[in-house]
Symmetry: C2
Subunit: 111 residues, 2 copies
DNA sequence: ATTATATGGGCTATTTATAATCCAAATCGG
DNA sequence: CCGATTTGGATTATAAATAGCCCATATAAT
């Protein structure tokens, strides 16, 4: 039985997922890595590599990101120092933001 | 009991995960959305939103990407048409690549 | 063509994530 | 300060992912 769709995904997140999956697969092949070799390096099973390269939404994001990192796919188009910079910058901004949110009035969206 | 570390993650993928988590949390607060409201919109539980904003590697990537999309966090710094373009470009490239990989000789890496 | 092997897919057992609670503490608006 | 509510964290039952097999097919190198 093919599992029939449990959740709904926006086309945006579905495309992002597919794109990441394709980039990983392409990078793996270009680096001449076997699915098994990649699985071993990532510490996961070959079957999971297959699901990752298929863009399965149910895969653990940690496994996907780790796999991407191994084959050299850059998330956020950024290297580590750049990401670290963004992290601390975001931390600073987050510190200034309210710690809990009150939906003022009835409006939930701004546009 | 705090679950003791099962897997190892590279610092790169851990940072990428944290960064995405922070961007989501920041975007949610800036949009004045309650964790419950965001959970409802994403079709997931509030507890999962908390783990997503904590950068938990075990979260399903579909749930994370969907949540990001809802609060307006752009994956790959790209809008939908841009991603679609990358998708088809990648498809074309993949078609030219070998369909299966043979580790030539003993070398697994190229550098 | 032949041979070795990579890939795709299915299957089951086990681990893990997720939902749905509930509670205590923190936070914000009045 | 007070009251309402958001948030964080724990717990438990359920659902789902993952690992580890297996087999058939496709692919690539010789």
């Amino acid at each position: 039985m093919t599992k029939l769709e449990t959740r709904a995904y926006s086309s945006y997140s579905r495309d992002a997922l597919k794109l990441l999956a394709q980039m990983i697969r392409r990078a793996r092949i270009e680096r001449k890595l076997t699915t098994q070799e990649l699985a071993d390096r990532a510490g996961i099973s070959r079957g999971l590599i297959q699901r990752i390269e298929r863009g399965d939404p149910g895969c653990a994001i940690g496994a996907v990101f780790e796999t991407a990192a191994i084959v050299g796919v850059r998330l956020f188009d950024a290297d580590q120092p750049t990401m670290a910079a963004h992290l601390s910058a975001n931390n600073a901004t987050l510190a200034l933001l309210p710690k809990s949110v009150r939906p003022s009035g009835k409006v939930k969206d701004d546009f």
